[in-house]
């Protein structure tokens, strides 16, 4: 079976109001949060993207909606990567969780929740993973003060 290249894969993934491009050999899919879960299921079952590489976010403080949430998938069958990007607002930063489909999603969604405060609907274990209990705010948001510290041990005088 001939392996599809990135352009072929982009054509197969396109449609349903998804905006698709190819960037540096990676298929980029932009969509609405509502369309995300169905697209992820399709990518996994129909196009063979069986590995979830990363879940992260980008903060655009002057933009509305403020956050990009970004997922990277890899296909061990086609040796292709796809980047899925969606936008959520600061008032309601919620997207669907992939923890039911990918075992690795749980930890990465917890990290994304730590750092950006994105909530993942369906992941009921969003405890801090890199931060600690009692940490206020989300340090990778642009409005987190650069030098704000939240020490656990009181400082010596």
């Amino acid at each position: 079976m001939a392996r599809p290249d990135a352009e072929t894969m982009r054509e197969q993934v396109a449609g349903d109001g998804r905006e698709t491009t190819v960037s540096h050999g990676t298929v980029v899919v932009e969509l609405t949060p509502a369309a995300f879960l169905a697209t992820a299921q399709e990518l996994k079952s129909r196009h063979g993207f069986d590995l979830l590489l990363d879940v992260t976010a980008v903060d655009w403080p002057e933009r509305e909606p403020r956050f990009d949430v970004v997922w990277h998938f890899y296909s061990t069958r086609h040796f292709l990567r796809v980047r899925v990007r969606t936008r959520v607002s600061a008032a309601d930063p919620v997207v669907d969780s992939l923890s039911a489909m990918y075992g690795s999603a749980g930890f990465m969604e917890r990290e994304c929740h730590d750092m950006y405060g994105i909530r993942f609907r369906g992941n009921d274990d969003l405890r801090p993973i890199l931060l600690y209990e009692g940490f206020e705010g989300h340090p990778l948001r642009k409005d987190y003060p650069k030098r704000r510290e939240q020490p656990l041990v009181p400082y010596r005088k």
Binding site: K146, R147, R148, E149, Q150, P151, L152, R156
Partner: protein, 165 residues
Amino acid sequence: MNANLKRPAPALEYLTTKKDELVGWARKFSLFPYPFVTACCAMEFMSVSSTLYDTDRFGAALPRFTPRQSDLLMVVGTVTHKQAPILRKVYDQMCEPKWVIAFGVCATSGGFYQNYAALPGIDKIIPVDVYIPGCPPRPEMVIDGIMQLQDKIARSKHPIVNDRF
């Protein structure tokens, strides 16, 4: 008359000084380090404690991996706020007398980390005797630091019962 009673007799003072010298001499050559190793400085720590630079020459080579048996806490690498309670607990578990070396610039001052995660220097939470800057410090600097600590131990008083004991 009273002043004379408060001061120990010259002979006793001489003996106390000699005792401090003797105990200091013994203690400075029997440092048992506890390596609290958290980051990349560990590589330099291994290099300085192994054959080529050989801290064993200073009696400071045998690491004890329990704080209760050690008397030199070597904090090697970045300490984060999340790690700070652990460092504090390890320090509290060590028996007197105890000394602390901040190994590398991160343990000394936080180094180039000035953010939500990193503790800006371990002296914010525990007292430090010798700071060894460098990212990572050269083995010569570490040896110099150990020798300075030995001088400090040799010069200080060694009460058998102190205010913390």
